[in-house]
């Protein structure tokens, strides 16, 4: 078991944990800090490209590019899941908005639903609108 395997498995577990608790403010702050850290690492590895190679060797990976590929896969998965939840949240809000508009329109046009009164709806409140 090389070090990289442990790192990657831990990263995947951490990812699931993070998404289960995605509404915690601390985690969102952590994600931003990680982004800054990533930028710093990028700058360092541009200045000295041998850094990635040395880190790779320390973790038991043959080439620095392979290490980057592995990490990229993890980051990509995390990003995809992030967007999935983001889109679903947006979809939910859109549904809430459309529902509110639809019900409001139905009530203004056809009146409040009053089944027990005999007819399905009360008289529309047209006279009360300007």
């Amino acid at each position: 078991m090389t070090a990289i395997k442990i790192v990657l498995v831990l990263a995947i577990i951490a990812m699931f944990w993070a998404f289960r608790n995605r509404s915690r403010v601390g985690l969102r702050a952590g994600a931003r800090l990680a982004a800054i850290l990533l930028a710093l690492v990028a700058i360092v590895s541009i200045i000295d490209p041998t850094v990635t190679q040395r880190v790779a060797e320390a973790l038991g990976v043959t080439r620095g590019t392979d290490l980057l590929l592995y990490l990229l896969v993890v980051v990509f998965a995390a990003t995809s899941l992030g967007f999935y939840f983001r889109f679903r949240e947006l979809e939910r809000r859109l549904a809430d908005l459309a529902r509110a508009a639809a019900i409001r329109e139905a009530v203004t046009m056809q009146g409040m639903p009053t089944g027990a009164a005999g007819s399905a709806v009360s008289e529309p409140a047209t006279d009360r609108q300007g």
């Binding site: 998404f19 915690r24 939910r92 529902r99 089944g115 027990a116 399905a120």
Partner: protein
């Protein structure tokens, strides 16, 4: 007594997306037993809305297509505005359900032994059901038992009836057809009493053509699993 006979305390929710051909007849049949029908037009591009109004339904129209779960939620929220509404029935617009089944479900709810009744074509009968559909539903049954903990003979049946107690708790977030599974989880977590009720499903050429593609079950299962595995804390 008269209220019970006339079913004025019942609201039937019919979700409808481009079903102009058949929805009028479905609602006219329903209206013979239930005076209150709310048709939710889920952004249809045909004349579904007009057909439903002509059949005597109150129509709530989504400005855009949102999906089955969202439409059901809209219908229930609208019907809940009627303070006298006690029973709620979900009925498909494509004519595959029988009004008599809905009537007997409401009668059973009135006895007060259950809060939620879910139609089961396997306890009742399914006329002309394609074989692969039967297999798929068996699979869905196992899936539901594993994910929601609700054991049913028919996992995805559009004919359901429930009391106001459950309607007020209804909060469907999955807008598409995955709502059926979400609904079962809600039933489980509500702690209300539920049971299955034998119903007849009529598979017509129309409903077979309009129905969901079987492969869509993969999408549904994946969404449900992600929803449950990564549910997260509700804000």
């Amino acid at each position: 007594m008269t209220e019970q006979a006339a079913n004025t305390d019942v609201w039937v929710v019919v979700r409808c997306f481009n079903e102009a051909q058949v929805v009028r007849k479905v609602i006219e049949e329903l209206r013979q037993s239930f005076p209150n029908v709310v048709g939710v037009d889920d952004g249809s591009r045909d004349t579904s809305s007009a057909e439903m109004v002509a059949a005597g339904a109150v129509v709530v129209r989504h400005p855009i297509n949102l999906g089955g779960g969202a439409a059901l939620q809209t219908g229930i929220e609208f019907a809940l505005l009627d303070p006298d509404a006690q029973y709620f029935v979900c009925f498909d617009a494509d004519g595959q359900h029988c009004v008599e089944d809905a009537v007997s479900m409401v009668e059973r709810l009135r006895r007060g032994e259950e809060d939620i009744l879910i139609g089961s074509r396997f306890l009742g009968s399914a006329q002309g059901m394609p074989r692969n559909r039967r297999l798929l539903l068996q699979g869905a049954r196992v899936f539901e038992r594993l994910t929601s903990g609700v054991a049913l003979t028919d996992a995805h049946n559009g004919l359901r009836a429930f009391t106001r107690a459950f309607a007020e708790r209804l909060d469907l977030q999955m807008t598409d057809m995955a709502y059926a599974s979400e609904l079962l989880s809600l039933i489980k977590s509500s702690g209300l009493r539920y049971a299955e009720h034998p119903v007849t499903i009529r598979y017509t050429d129309y409903s077979r053509a309009k129905g969901q593609r079987s492969i869509n079950s993969v999408n549904i299962a994946m969404d449900i699993w992600l929803h449950q595995a990564l549910r997260g804390r509700r804000r």
